[in-house]
Point group: D2
Chain length 368, copies 4
């Protein structure tokens, strides 16, 4: 039905797998990106796929994943199926030589994630994790501010992501919502500020069979603290992250479009005076800054569109994506540790050592 | 200077000790209450006491606490000195036969608090803890709603109390701010929903010598969870408490005078169907309520004035105050456990068994 | 390209004319409605039409309006061209026997609007005005509350619609933004509360050649007052309408998704006591209600989709649409009077008598 | 009772007349100011005066105004009686050689106000109008920003002051609330931007006998527009003023203590290109700035205290107060014109020519 044109030749052929909650958003954004040519929407339930495409589309629906993988026009596969199937679906795609984009979380376990990363590395294929929030103008700006030193030393991060949520059957609220906060944290923190241990507390007050309310405390390598509150039972929606620094503190309120990011020149300063006697010292130590607040102008780019563009860029330039498989792995590491902590009533669980950042200066792959 | 009149005879003579941060508020409210006659403001720094009284007052300033205790017109003493001195100041007053009101926290340690409670019991004197927030119209209404069953079973409580705070020298942010949240929690929860264990995580990212950011997780006797976030380093002030219940959820935003309390008829319901097969059951379990929100009209009474009136009522009626010494003890119990948890990096610490609620039906004292 | 199926036979064929700012929204909503089959997107700039449709659509783009009108599969035309062209485009469609949906404002002048209404009446065709806001769940509920008497007598309406807007070339801020407020007002007010006169004040402080800031005051038939503030120069967006009544007052804040509509049981009551002397009477007259606020749960239906469904319903049931041509005329009447008032520095201008509501009991058309 | 000390000799003796709504605030602030010594609180109802002073005060209450005026220790009188009595009370004080502070509005009519200004001028006494808002840190900063050119040319001012208000017996909502907005406008606008005409629309939907809702439109000398919305019937309180300028726009939300003043670098720019043909020109004219927002840090000084200090400064330095009698006159001029406009259904009414600003360079008085 789709006639390939000269222009299309230069586009990356892509297929979306999974027509559930997230799939339609990928369909829409791949369609609007000039970098891609969307060929397929694949779902075990072909009627669901057809409904997503609607009655006016030239994109093909199928229930046969093998058909998709066999299509030589398909260079990349976007996986939007349940987390438990990520390993199989993504592995099959990589083995068929396709680049792969995977919904968060990267996989159901850290080990599964490692297999995907290894497979992609070995084949020189792009493996990217759809950490959508990292592609919002707000988070992009926060990363710049944090990494550019505008906030000074990071003192604390506090993230709240609560709403009346779909109580999931197979995953708890931590695995459902915290990947957003953890991927953002991974994205914005400087390379030398890393989570080293985690403690999690949760409750299942409605008897759903898994935690519906959870609190995550991360110890950072610098002695700073990060905290995440996720909750499926809140009647109101809150999406607020504070990043406290020695120079400035930032508050990101994603539900306030008029002022998503606010940068406060307010804070507590401690100085160590040399010329004071012991008695005076205590009083002299603390001072308070009460400066202006700035809400920087942010663009209104759709995050998913920027994510899709990054996927194309990573494939074409044979470089790791901003949120590559390793970023997905680091998030899985924390999620697994948090689950273990939940099991042991909040015990502090250390993170794996080997899941540091991808060294950005030495691009992955290249064998392709 | 103050001529005693027939009317004054019926008033309770009172002295305020401590002219620092809180003292002036007590001075103002005792002056405006017809139940009291304020005789003294006592502070080691008599000039500070004089400044607080101003140039137009007939109230006497003194630096001599003994003079205050010796004054037979003084029936009650309100203690607004640093927590470390509460034991000595309050004990002296009780031993001089005065009723005592103490700023939160009741004392520096649980043990000190117990001595005060025992002394007051023995002498049949009123010992009250100034848990001011419990006397706001908002908290009074929340207590009614929670205890009256309007919210159903309590599922979770989440309290955030953060701002750019005075970094204290001798106490950390937990002891400075969390007494508010814990006394409110103690006040609003039904008698059969009690904290049983606590875990605390904190950080001192500015090198102040004690935690400036802290998170407290309380396990409640019903399996529900309560969480408190206190922070001295936040550039913005937040005072928000959510109380999630099986029937309704309540949000108290103390900084929104137009809508302090909001009651949401929204939530997740789980039902256990009997007539379904195992496969269908999972899907049928969860349903969502999306009802109206109601913000009840609240009076605009000043909390401290109501607290002062309760102090008078408790003295006159020889009954425990709504926030009596035992309430102060229960808060101390949690604070001490939280400090121990902080020391041990978040370990869960159980609470004392014997600090249950005062049995309201059997009034204290009476020997007087 | 589009093969007509049995199912499609039952759908109303539709074409959208105009691929500018609003057209794409109509395209999307006609496509998602099972009541319609979208055949054409027509724009003088065919490339613009093609860009709107994208590379995956089976809908045809054309620059030739005659081709559209000649298509017997097209039963209805949706006009999203500039207001100055509405008369010609809509008239041609009506004369070709097509039902017509027109973007607000109905036409460039009241007289033009009258010609459209007459033409549609004569031919028994549906003429509908896309007053989109009337189809939001919020406005639907407000109409119910106002007309159902929940607010009592209407005392005042105050509407603010300001933002950093596109400074239009050919129309001022009144004609650009106020049609929204006026169509909402027309929609929610009871039939016996009608605007009778209008005064408008405006300014063009940037020298744009027409008013960029304007204030509209409407005198209602009951002595109540309505006021509209529209502004293209505001750095922040505000969309707030208050409807004050004798029993309750309602505030609609369209930018607060968590609480769009709030109903306040607060207000001033005046009573006329019979048993008081003249002196006492004055004091006794006024009393204040300070009751609860209720924010009713609203659905999250897309307004344009509901508007499109109403268009289908009106066509099929041969009844006037909720926002029919006459509603569009009533809005034009006020806009023209407001323009005249602006010219004469705020002079009060009476409205036409003959533009009352469509008598709902006597359905239009039927001759078809 | 009050023993004069050396320190007191240097203080200005002051008396407050009127113990109603506002008087107690003046009493409190004169007491806390080291520049004044408060001697009397005078009210026809001496019990009301006594209640305001409370049982611990050394200030004298009296119902005998003559006694106050005869007291040589009284150098200044602060008038907080109903507006209708301002002329008599203030005139008597001036004739007794006292400096005078008057609650807003300065007097019940422009003519009365003129008599007060003339009397004070003649006697070289300070006549000040208590335009309290002008002494808030927010308005002080706004004045700096506007007059310092930070906003560029002023394009519009929009002020909303609505709440559930006390329905007054003798004055309508314009005279009750708009003096605040008008005195602020007078205070912040540069000397060359003056109101020249006013139109007012109002309604009395509850039958109170006077307007309870009113809208005021001011034409400024530069072609800019100012608008004031005052309303006694609103269930929510709003206190928001926008000042739109060619360079920046400012929003003051007095009910948002965390961010009272916000300065937006967003707006519409019009440029007049020279090198474009006629056709291109239209499109090239308009451009949009979308810059950052800055919320400047403001102090938390109490406005009334700063007002009281300014009163002392004006008396001691024999200079006009920042809000002197002439400022009060300019406000009265607008209020009278607005009342006339209300009477004539919104007709535009010109302002007096002779009420320009006090020439600041040529201080008043000096004869004393």
């Amino acid at each position: 039905m789709t006639k390939s044109t000269a222009h299309d030749e230069k586009r990356l052929g892509v297929a979306v797998v999974g027509a559930g909650y997230w799939g339609p958003n990928l369909v829409r954004n791949f369609q609007s990106s000039p970098a891609f040519r969307l060929h397929w929407l694949c779902d075990l339930d072909i009627d669901r796929a057809r409904r997503v495409l609607g009655s006016y589309s030239t994109v093909r629906a199928t229930a046969d994943y093998a058909e998709v993988l066999a299509d030589p026009d398909v260079h990349a596969v976007a996986v939007a199926t349940p987390a438990g199937t990520h390993l199989d679906v993504a592995l099959a795609a990589l083995r068929a030589g396709k680049h792969v984009l995977v919904e968060k979380p990267l996989a159901a376990t850290f080990e599964d994630g490692e297999r995907l990363v290894a497979e992609a590395d070995e084949r020189g294929l792009t493996l990217m994790c759809d950490h959508t929030y990292c592609y919002t103008p707000a988070v992009a700006r926060i990363r710049e501010l944090v990494r550019g030193g505008e906030l000074g030393q990071i003192h604390y991060v506090d993230s709240v992501r609560i709403n009346l949520g779909l109580v999931q059957k197979d995953i708890d609220v931590l695995w459902d919502l915290a990947p957003h906060d953890l991927s953002i944290l991974d994205f914005i923190l400087p390379a030398d500020v890393r989570p080293v241990a985690v403690a999690a507390h949760g409750a299942d007050p409605i008897g759903a069979g898994q935690a519906c309310v959870a609190y995550l405390t991360l110890q950072l390598s610098t002695g700073a603290i990060a905290h995440v509150h996720v909750n499926w039972l809140s009647p109101t929606k809150v999406r607020t992250t504070m990043v406290g620094g020695s120079r400035r503190t930032l508050i990101w309120d994603d539900l306030n479009p008029a002022q998503r990011v606010a940068l406060f020149d307010r804070g507590v300063d401690l100085t160590t005076p040399h010329d004071l006697g012991a008695d005076e010292r205590r009083d002299a130590l603390v001072s308070y800054r009460t400066g202006d607040m700035i809400a920087p102008a942010l663009g209104e780019r759709e995050a998913l569109r920027a994510m899709v563009d990054e996927f194309a860029g990573a494939i074409r330039e044979r470089r790791p994506a901003l949120t590559d498989g390793r970023a997905g792995l680091r998030v899985l590491d924390i999620l697994e540790a948090a689950s273990r902590s939940l099991e042991f009533r909040g015990a502090v669980v250390g993170l794996r050592a080997g899941t540091g950042r991808t060294p950005r200066t030495e691009p992955l792959g290249g064998r392709r």
